[in-house]
Amino acid sequence: MRWRVVQMVARTAFLEFWRSPAAVFWTYGFPLMMAVVLGFAFQPSPPKPVPIAVVEAPGANAVFQSLQSSKRLAVEMLSPELADEALARGRIALLIKVDVDGPVLRSDPTRPEAELAHLLVHRALRDARQGEVAMARIEVEDRPGSRYIDFLIPGLIGLNLLGAGMWGVGFNLVQMRVQNLLRRIFVTPMRRSEFLAGYLLGRSVLVIPEAVAILLFGVLMWGVPFRGSYMAAMLVIVIGGWTFTGIGVLCASRARTIETIGGLMNAVQLPMWILGGSFFANEALEGPVRWVAECLPLTHVNRALRDVMLEPGTLADIWMPLSFLAAGGVLCFAAAMRLFRWQ
């Protein structure tokens, strides 16, 4: 391998990406937008009060008042007809009728808030009878490090390494094959190894700033903690990026049309999107599905990232997933070297 050739190929691959505004937007802009939107969507907030109604009747007022003292209930007093309609339409989770024997609770058990409403009403009435208005305080879990957004940001970085690594090289390589550029390169004294190494290099350096952007964004905007080693995090990003780029090159090593490579990459990425642990913890999975999840490189990227961000992890804690990833990358590169076709 001649380093100057590798360098030139890398430079060309890099510039080809950098000068294409659409590619830059979809790899840098889009994931950041996703981080914003998901961040807002999963902002921790106090639970909304559960809407319930008391039917107008003699003696209903006392019940109404004791329920009103509960902060977690939104109570209103309604006529029997209106109350029935509100329950039927799902505007309230529970309806309370007061007759001579006391209050009767009515609800639609298929509605998830019904259970909660029952519980809250029971507690409110019990507390009122004991003359205590105070509710047991319900705490909202909102300390940095344990919110969903904290879990999500490392997952998004992982997904992004996956997407950028694979789409970035896959399409581009096949495009080069379709437009006869690979054949043109083949008839020069450029070696396959020089071309592939340069290509891999030029593309995998691209994923680093992008992953760092999401990371910074998560830390600065959502207060996602960074408790572990920066070095280790960088290493996860670099090695993860290299592994996914390697998978992309492998996928593109034989595909002859854009449609083929598109389908192939979707097929490879879909299991990782679902089982790779970006959106939910795949440690909770069981049986064969779990084994599959454990074999996915994304699982290990995400796990390693969470170890160094959410916990005070260092290189010593993540060397296992890292070596798994690096080995995967080397394997893909070696396979691509064998399988790669110029035409």
Binding site: Q7, R11, L181, R183, I185, T188, P189
Partner: protein, 321 residues
Amino acid sequence: MSSSAIDGVPAIELRALRKTYKLRRTETVAVDGLDLVVNRGEVFGLLGPNGAGKTTTVEICEGLTIPDSGTVSILGRQWGQGEDHAIRARIGVCLQETKFHENANVREVLSLFRSCFDQGRSVDEALALVSLEEKQDARQKSLSGGQRQRLAVATALLGDPELLFLDEPTTGLDPQSRRQLWSVVRDYQAAGGTVLLTTHYMEEAQQLCDRVAIVDRGKIIALDSPADLIKSLAAEHFILIDGEQSPSDEDLLAVPEVVAVERQTERIVLTVESVRGALPLLLQIFSARGIEIDGLSTRHATLEDVFVDLTGQSLRDGEDQ
């Protein structure tokens, strides 16, 4: 040129070359038992209609396509015998159709290709060879067809090759771009280079090539210098007479110099041994019959006529010229 240019072996030697393509049930014979020797220092043209097998032949020479049978020797070496890298370092290739990186400019494309040659000419030299200095910062999309093609030729010249392959280098180009490329080829030849080019433009073959092989259906049906190919025709001149009416074939063939008569709509084309000898007699026949002549022209035979004579088909195949 490196010193090995003077060693004895021909630049290209093809023996009994055969290549078939199988697509589902149908089998296409692209190259059908082709023999060819291209000597050092000559510009050799493969002339033939679309689908004749020119590209397949050239790509076999370039090591891009593997023949079913036959032998290929490029600068005295064979593909697939551990010398591929050495051959590639000494040849320059311009494929029939290549698009370079969309977002790369001319200089960057050349730098990329330059990097893989251990020896060769500088990017600036290559730019000057094809007169693209002013366009060196332009990206692919802003180049005209002629400029793209010149860039493709420049990439082929970067390694200072002994042997240059040009597959339809001027197809689709305007006459001016075509002439520019011809002069690049002539300069390359003047510096000692050997060229194998394909074309379906007879004018190009006539202007540029020292020798031409006329290819049809994967076979070489004639091979000689353009001038000698034309001389091989029974008669080298044509008289074209336009008019609504015309004398009968017998009357026309009665003129001793007339070799053949071809009738087109409102035009007859006479193949004659000499225009000066045939024309007065022909005019006499027309005036004796009282037939009016709307137009009259003469032309010298071209390689196109050689092709028509050999195959009974037109070379251009409905293509623009």
